[in-house]
């Protein structure tokens, strides 16, 4: 196995683990929203890297759909926070 592939694997894995740590310990829900956005971006990057390494195009529609609708998670969380927290004095 190409050593570069192993390095890529380790870097992606460590990044995902650190992001999950922030999702778990994040003090506010906005921190968790930001961290889950990063995790979604890492999913897109991993899918693209898998396509480039294995040389197929089956995951292209998945990339397009995640890029298009992944934003709604953060937006709906931000709206929810607006209703719940901005009215407390």
């Amino acid at each position: 196995m190409n050593p570069l592939l192993i390095v890529i694997l380790i870097v992606f894995g460590v990044a995902a683990l650190l992001t999950i740590v922030r999702i778990v310990i994040g003090p506010s829900i906005l921190d968790r929203a930001v961290a889950s956005d990063v995790l979604l971006t890492e999913v897109i990057c991993v899918l693209g890297a898998e396509m480039a390494i294995n040389g197929h195009t089956r995951l292209l529609p998945v990339l397009l759909i995640i890029a298009a609708i992944g934003v709604f998670g953060s937006i709906s969380v931000a709206r929810f926070v607006a209703v719940k927290e901005s009215r407390t004095p």
Partner: protein, 148 residues
């Protein structure tokens, strides 16, 4: 990426792998920034780097690795859509972080929202207007964006 690639193919595959490694490093930097920075806007600053630059690097890597025109067209659409939607979520999260006081006020160089007079009450009423949950009475003939 065929294992028996020779010459130009091998070079292009290597370039593709290096670009993927750079994208993975950007993801790692974002994760480290998420853990080390202190408040929501700082973490947002770290988080939005791989959303655009990392995705571009990965898409260039896929284009170089596969070398087909329809793949490049598809990936261009992916990048354009990510360009359009990534600032949306960052804007919404950053605005709510400001309104909920989830930011370290001591680290701000300039607070233009406070200077513009966007108090919490104004922010709340604007918010209600957007949601349309029966709070139109608050506007009372005011314009959508009150003069300040």
């Amino acid at each position: 990426m065929s294992p028996d690639a020779v010459g130009l193919d091998a070079v292009l595959d290597l370039v593709s792998l290096i670009l993927i490694l750079l994208g993975a490093l950007l993801c790692l930097i974002a994760a480290i920034g998420l853990l080390r920075l202190r408040d929501v806007p700082s973490r947002l600053h770290a988080a939005t780097k791989p959303q655009v630059l990392g995705l571009i690097l990965i898409c260039i890597a896929v284009s170089i690795s596969l070398r087909e025109w329809h793949v490049i067209a598809f990936l261009a659409a992916v990048v354009v859509i990510q360009f359009a939607t990534a600032p949306l979520s960052a804007h919404m999260v950053g605005r709510q972080a400001y309104r909920n006081g989830r930011l370290d006020a001591g680290s701000l160089v300039a607070d233009e929202l406070r200077d513009a007079g966007a108090t919490d009450a104004d922010a709340t009423s604007e918010d209600d207007d957007e949601e349309g949950d029966g709070s139109d009475r608050r506007r009372g003939g005011r314009s959508r964006w009150p003069a300040r």
